[in-house]
Symmetry: C2
Subunit: 514 residues, 2 copies
Amino acid sequence: MSEVRPARRTRGGGGAARRAERTAVSIETAKFITRNIPNFEILNEEALQIIEYNAETVLEEIGVNFVENPAALERWRAAGADVVGERVRIPRGLARQLCSTAPSSFTQHARNPERNVEIGGKNLVLAPVYGPPFVRDNEGGRRYATIEDFRKFVKLGYMSKWLHHSGGTVCEPTDIAVNKRHLDMLLAHMTLSDKPYMGSVTEKVRAEDSVNMSKILFGGDFVDQNTVMTSLININSPLTFDNVMMGALEVYAEANQAAIISPFIVGGAMAPVTVAGTLTQVLAEALAGVAYSQLVRKGAPVIMGAFVTSIDMNSGAPTFGTPEAAHITYGVGQLARRLNLPYRSGGSFSGSKLPDAQAAYETSNSLNMALLSGVNFMLHACGWLEGGLVASFEKFVLDADQLGTLHHLAQGVSMDENGQAMNALREVGPGGHFLGCEHTQANFKSAFWRSDVLDYKPYEQWEEEGARDSATLAGARVRKMLGDYQAPPIDPAIVEALEAYVAQRKASEPDAFG
Amino acid sequence: MSEVRPARRTRGGGGAARRAERTAVSIETAKFITRNIPNFEILNEEALQIIEYNAETVLEEIGVNFVENPAALERWRAAGADVVGERVRIPRGLARQLCSTAPSSFTQHARNPERNVEIGGKNLVLAPVYGPPFVRDNEGGRRYATIEDFRKFVKLGYMSKWLHHSGGTVCEPTDIAVNKRHLDMLLAHMTLSDKPYMGSVTEKVRAEDSVNMSKILFGGDFVDQNTVMTSLININSPLTFDNVMMGALEVYAEANQAAIISPFIVGGAMAPVTVAGTLTQVLAEALAGVAYSQLVRKGAPVIMGAFVTSIDMNSGAPTFGTPEAAHITYGVGQLARRLNLPYRSGGSFSGSKLPDAQAAYETSNSLNMALLSGVNFMLHACGWLEGGLVASFEKFVLDADQLGTLHHLAQGVSMDENGQAMNALREVGPGGHFLGCEHTQANFKSAFWRSDVLDYKPYEQWEEEGARDSATLAGARVRKMLGDYQAPPIDPAIVEALEAYVAQRKASEPDAFG
């Protein structure tokens, strides 16, 4: 069984926090996954070398664009790149060499130290869906997301045993001004959950707000010395680094906060239509992006990301859970390990409009391949629907439940004497039954992963109870979890200070929309 | 893209067959999968040796029972086993040595030679669900299966591009007498499809009927010299071989027809609750069963099987798509390869009552693990529902569609010049778009797997068309496929002879039920 850690003392908790804690419902969160199984290696050494050679050729011959960012161009020029206009051509080997100062693994701290995560190595940290402007649930259907929806998702994430991370923009709170919603999102993550979280990346100033609020939560010295945020920096594929994303990256790298540097690729549109071509581009982009983070600050924690889908060439729609996405995800994993960098990919991807069979096929395909690809940080691990346009409440809890299978899979096979079970085989013998034997009794509680939401009931009972499908069962689980929710303890003075920061920042500029 | 083979000339087709062929709708069937990717090896050498040692200990110390089968006991005694009562204790190494005469790979012939399958090596052959007494569809709900349902499933299997095999008892035709239904099932497989099929195993005489009817279809000499059936012989775990199943095995082995020798295990009930313990028992049972097939006829084609599920310790219900089942499936694959035997496992397993998200999560977990486990023959590859009690029409076509992902995954990554796509990367450059480039145009038709049933439409169109979920879309596909169905060409004289055999055998004994 996975190690499960109960809620404990929180960072910065004073007497008030301790009082709050005494009445709090204990929430179990599994420790992040540490794989005791091998990775699946789809590419052989020759294929890896070809892709690595080609990626260096792309950087050297074609180069990458750093848009509207003279400081970045200056950094690259100083490092030895060939800069013409906004085009940066990187001599063979330089980017890889620059990447070598990035840590192969780092700790992201949570305000509850029991929820700290280690990102890199054999570990896998799971975080929820990121970015949807819409939400969907059984009762209300599909609608624009609000801050109230956002808070519900943060609560569900906090309550989800197999989720290690509170995430970032779990949905877009579209009822709050674009230039202010990051403040409300951060406040929700910081106060409604005690799991680690992500910072804002949509403007440089919002990244600065994220750092400032984290300093209120953790203390300024602590943030200076430790990584408390992992934020998502997308590359504009092909081969383009825009100044908004790079601005946020610069803020985070300078503050020694972690960034996921990730191409966002719909294959055949933003990258070549073939797997090896896409792998080449992903590697070139990651090399350039990670190298740039190290030019900003040597040793800044960074994750090599790959968000890759295929495309339905009939409709142009992105498609999910496809074999081509799996090939790429496996391949990037190998490339990232050869760079000694933590790897981000995978997720509960689906193009379906509903949490139905399509959603689950596509999601399971993605989750399984991500585990075996050696992913270290899985954003979108639950709740993603309709190509990322929708955060689904029901799918969130269904997917979050499935994440338990990844924990158990990753444990591998126990070969100790108890695992070998020779005494059980001797005790039962031909034609016997294991249910009652001593070995079964001693092990059954932890032997098998068990779903908390799927239906295992006898047919007749299931029918009497309304013949409910998974989406209906999940709806009931959402209501139960939100009903049971109690906020994790936190020093009220910290909440006050955070609220004051948000109020002051909101008052300092007019609302902006769109 | 997978090689797809169109319907061609069929075996035994005369002028009438050729006339029929000219008007037949061409049905595409993909060639069986040949893996161009590695297998996933979850156990290290030490673990494999421990399990192999323990399995031999089980055979030597505990032994297996061959029930009500004096001839089998005599065969074992002659081979050097220690036989006391019905208990057969097999000296260390003997079973493994006997298994070495079984072929590592064999051809199962179809009446259409284009649909022959190679079982073993790097291949994966996909066959539909086997055994459910109930069927379910959107309109009729859950009900006892009839021969009309059975024929519909055979037609769907024939029409399913990614299915290589027509299977056996796709559902139980409960409206036909127990002692006669095998005749109608065989007739349906032989006339409504031209894919390979399975024989009956429920009585020795029914296995003989299967051989006799195959001789009518293929010609007697052909059947004597070639394998035209692969049939399912279940072991009564733990460690028990009953005389009905062994009787059928003896018929098939003597006729040089293939048998899957397969433990049927609900972990914690018919085997130890731990993975390593179950692997030990599965290996011991397979060693004894496969060795016995070689005692009946040296060189008889045989498949080492493992049907393994875990159990919900609260309700006692078997559970599917679980991490423990994956561990076992990966492990048995390694053990089978070390025995140089073809391997059967995996399937569209689910405990759900409906073709909903639960069904799809569990099924995808199972299908993905089966591909990476090195399975050579996957029974139950589509249509399985409710723990195998129900064959679902909608799930059949949804699962059969997903089998396409396994074909594409197994292709691996093309590293030729076209795959590397350096010209495309050069042509498009930073900030460009790949949709229109020459490389994309040349490759897009075959680059990505595409579902034939899942929804990729824009939201608005999907909503206008009725906001249909996967089960509803699948229902429409079932109706379309059955409407489009045309029987593959066959010599009418052969059909007459088969029908005469069935009529004669049905008239020869009274109906038996239950």
